[in-house]
Subunit: 602 residues, 2 copies
């Protein structure tokens, strides 16, 4: 308990909830790190996909990069619409559910939940890759370092929303600053020496394999778009007017993201940088542009920090989305409980666990995780934009025709991207996500069915309450001592029909018990049960069932003396039979178990 | 449950206990495997200790071997006395406790318990070493193979004593047979070609270091004696007349053991066999004597089997000794419970766990475990024999003077051996045991003190039972539904003073509850508690404490509605608040908690 308080701070009162909201600047820091940080690996993934054909297809780096920058603008514009149409937040899940039905909503929700877990895994591993580019000896400990990073982020998030904003503002703005500097210096160099470092681009043949490789490079680069929807999911975390603040933040985010991504891709191509196992593309670019000076280490550190903290987008988004789904009773209701620091603590812990498992499974390698990444995101984009089209058709608000076109373009574009990614990345890992999404949807529907059944069975319509006809009380004893007499006293206060039961394992011992009972038994009859196989519980349970059958509409209360030791390890010195008996009785109708604790003083 | 039955069989009735006893032949199989199997590594350990000085001290192999063979005779004779003086069994613990006091008994008990664990670890690793000598590719999986072997032995022992005797008779007699054959062939060869294979023995200088090395070789070889005491501890497992049968078994055992050990040591020296990392000495000897034919593989397999099954001595001895100590209330009383197959199941499980941990810790290497091994055994020998001397002085039975001399020689000899082992093996690992023994003794005394305190606090002398003055019942509710009404109905059957409590987290929800309560509340007052920090339990516990204070000598029963789902995973879908509240209430005096289960049908 006191460790918990030290790590996550004192509880916060419910009425303080409004005051914990984000400004645009802290909101940009919280919700942008995922999207912005992906520029650290997106260009590299494009190059890795193209290099498979040697230098033949490298000239497509720029067109692919431009296509993705355009995609960023399209998706951001679509989401700007979403924010204003759904100021209460919820993103793809809410939009798809309300317009396309619960199944579409659950598919979008499952896709996004997977995406949040992937974001944490990919961002943290990429962040450590930025570190190991600068300090290669850390490479072999990367899994451990990743796990430690996840634990630190979890603690920061368990502390609560606004403090998280302050913690994460610094690295985000340091990253934005150092990348702006890097790109400025890089482009200044370009204008003074505009010839490309590449030898003359080869014109490749336009056959099917080349097309497949180019499309796969495009799919890889789409990782840059993950995280854009975070703002739309988190509208309610902003200060009022929530929608306006969130919208402005989204525009800032899209502009910065498109600029950085296009800039890095252009300069990498210009300086003829190729992906290498032991050093990231961004690290190479920074070395070429600035040498290994102060700016290089600033870029590496801030990249590493923003990447590790990009995971934070998910730590804000995952628990919030899970709570939305849980409130609709499609996930365990514990996920909708606000913790005592006003955050959804259970969601944070689950996210930390799942992403750590993924990192261990994939041995902390970013490139191995990427193919699992973008399918879910673009599936959610598609459903969300398709939902928006439906929304405008239904609502016919001002400008609905224009809005249909904007969101329609978004829906069609992202749908094409889903198909491209699923097709080109299927064997590299996308199949896992394509299997997992229906799996999660199936599970959520099973959960929902349970809650529905439960509500039905608990419903009070037409309930008639009748009194019990008889109350029998049974006190199982293991000897005659103070704890047993305490239980007996309590039993006699419940009913006049009380019986004590003793299971005989040793006739000599039993005789002693019988004798002592005559003196201390308070007039309660003692029943001795035989147990040929030395089991205590079996004869006892049989006897209790017999007592239950004696009276129709009667109940039985079993009063169990229970030792409460003063030290935890004393528990190991006493039989846990009482606990075992209570566990069995839980499933017998009309039988209730009560412990009468006996507190040892030492 | 059904897995348990499949693995360990149906329960056996208590009255069948006598029929589960051992004959001399099955008794020899059960209790000899530890002692006999140690010849597989004892000679090797002597050679390993001597080889440290090159070939200089190897001529001492024979004298050291003879010293150990003599020691075997002395110790066995001493224990033959013990069996007849203490036919109820218990070995060193009982003998030391009854004659030298409880502290000596606990030291002997701790030493023996450690020794049993070591026996399992050493025997199993040596058994796997015999296998890997014949099949080297198993070497890298040795830890896993060891753990599997321990699990199989545990299951066999959980099935019960007589079946264990049958299971283990075959390998023991196979080992005895194949070693007899091996030694016969070996000695036949010796008589036809009696020149030693060694070049002329060098006469070493008698300096201190040489003496130390020779004594350490002797200490290593003492591993051959472990397990001799097993018969004395297990007298009660024999058919009546128990003492006579056990005594005869012990004599057989000592004769076979001394013969095998002396024979192997002599032939190994004669054939100039030296210890090697990848092959055991016994494997080399078998190869030299018989070539790699059928007999070689017979020796290796039966050695491997008897070694792995030697662990079985401990699986008979450890739980029995633990139950003796537990009956004296120096260990948790669960260890004295006979399981439903008439074996001490808890002791078997603990032994299996501890020895597996040791093997994992020492990476399945026999030689690394040996230094921890013999200290405990000889400490127990010494205390046992010293106790016997005291016994004869007190009892003055027929032949007591002769008996004092026999046990006196045993006590002095084994005491000297303890000092030699502790001194020469201290840095190699004996220190661990020398620290662990007082640690265990301290723990047993703490346990005993707890049981004494407990008995004192439970004692009924002068107890006066008074009726309770008042009975208040509190029903915490989370809503108004059937489970709550079930709890309410039960609560009303306990007392007339019943109150329901609801913790308000959301004013709108609370208003709905209040409304429904008017309709379904059965006239019970509903108390609403505020919770500014969204905790359910804290305001509830505070309220219950307030109710408790209202009446002097009154009690409070808290009736908690509890959901019982029909599938295990449904538990994850409901809050565990009731369980948490019950845990807290367990420590409040005069407050009792009862669950009223609500059984979901689906």
């Amino acid at each position: 308990m006191s460790i918990k308080r030290f790590l996550i701070g004192q509880p916060i009162e419910t009425i303080k909830e409004k005051r914990e909201r984000l400004t645009k600047l802290t909101g940009l820091a919280i919700f942008s790190s995922d999207a912005l940080s992906s520029v650290a690996y997106a260009t590299e993934e494009i190059l890795l996909a193209l290099i498979i054909a040697g230098s033949l297809l490298l000239s497509y780096t720029l067109p692919v990069g431009i296509a993705i920058a355009v995609l960023i603008i399209i998706v951001a514009t679509s989401y700007y619409q979403v924010i204003h149409a759904y100021p209460t937040g919820g993103g793809a899940y809410i939009v798809a559910k309300e317009n396309l039905g619960i199944n579409a909503g659950l598919v979008a929700g499952a896709a996004l939940l997977i995406d949040y877990v992937m974001t944490v895994a990919v961002s943290v591993t990429a962040g450590i890759a930025a570190l190991t580019s600068a300090f290669p000896y850390l490479y072999e400990h990367r899994v451990l370092v990743c796990i430690i990073a996840i634990i630190l982020i979890s603690i920061a998030n368990l502390r609560g929303v606004r403090e998280a904003g302050v913690v994460f503002s610094f690295p985000t703005y340091a990253f934005i600053g150092s990348l702006l500097l890097l790109l400025s210096i890089g482009f200044t160099g370009y204008f003074f020496e505009p010839q490309p470092h590449f030898v003359k681009d080869i014109q490749p043949s336009g056959d099917f394999i080349a097309l497949f490789i180019i499309l796969r490079a495009f799919s890889s680069g789409c990782a840059a778009l993950t995280g854009i929807e975070a703002v739309a999911n988190g509208v309610q975390a902003f200060k009022p007017p929530e929608a306006k603040n969130a919208g402005v933040t989204l525009i800032w985010l899209a502009v910065i993201l498109a600029t950085f991504f296009a800039g890095i891709t252009f300069l990498s191509h210009h300086f003829a940088i190729l992906p290498r196992e032991e050093e990231t593309v961004l690290s190479q670019l920074a070395t070429v542009v600035t040498g290994r000076g102060v700016l290089y280490y600033m870029v590496q550190f801030s990249t590493s920090l923003i990447l590790i903290l990009a995971a934070n987008t998910s730590f804000a988004g995952f628990p919030r989305l899970a709570s939305f789904i849980a409130k609709d009773r499609y996930m365990p209701r514990q996920l909708s409980n606000l913790g005592d620091r006003l955050v959804f603590s259970n969601g944070i812990l689950i996210l930390a666990t799942l992403s750590s498992l993924l990192i261990i499974l994939f041995q902390g390698k970013t490139h191995a995780l990427i193919p699992l990444y973008a399918v879910g995101v673009f599936l959610a984009f598609t459903l969300s934009q398709a939902g928006m089209v439906k929304h405008w058709i239904k609502s016919k608000d001002v400008g609905w025709k224009k809005n249909i076109i904007i969101n329609g373009v978004g829906a069609v574009t992202t749908c094409i991207v889903v198909i491209i990614i699923g097709f080109t990345k299927f064997y590299h890992g996308a199949w896992i996500v394509i299997i997992a999404i229906p799996g999660i949807v199936y599970l959520t529907k099973k959960i929902h069915r349970h809650y529905e059944y439960a509500a039905e069975q608990l419903s009070l319509n037409g309930t008639v309450i009748e009194e019990y006809k008889h109350h029998s009380v049974v006190v199982p004893i293991s000897g005659v001592h103070k704890a047993v007499l305490g239980a007996l006293k309590y039993a006699k206060s419940l009913s006049d029909d009380v019986g004590a039961v003793y299971v005989c394992l040793d006739p000599i011992e039993t005789e002693k018990i019988r004798e002592k009972w005559g003196k201390y038994g308070m007039g309660v009859p003692l029943i001795i049960l035989e147990s040929p196989y030395r089991s205590i519980t079996e004869p006892l349970i049989d006897y209790i069932e017999d007592v239950k059958k004696r009276y129709k509409d009667g109940i039985v209360t079993v009063v169990l003396p229970e030792f409460v030791p003063s030290r935890w390890w004393h528990h190991l010195l006493h039989n846990q039979t009482a606990l075992f008996i209570k566990g069995i009785l839980l499933f017998k109708k009309g039988v209730f178990a009560t412990s009468v604790p006996f507190h040892f003083r030492k």
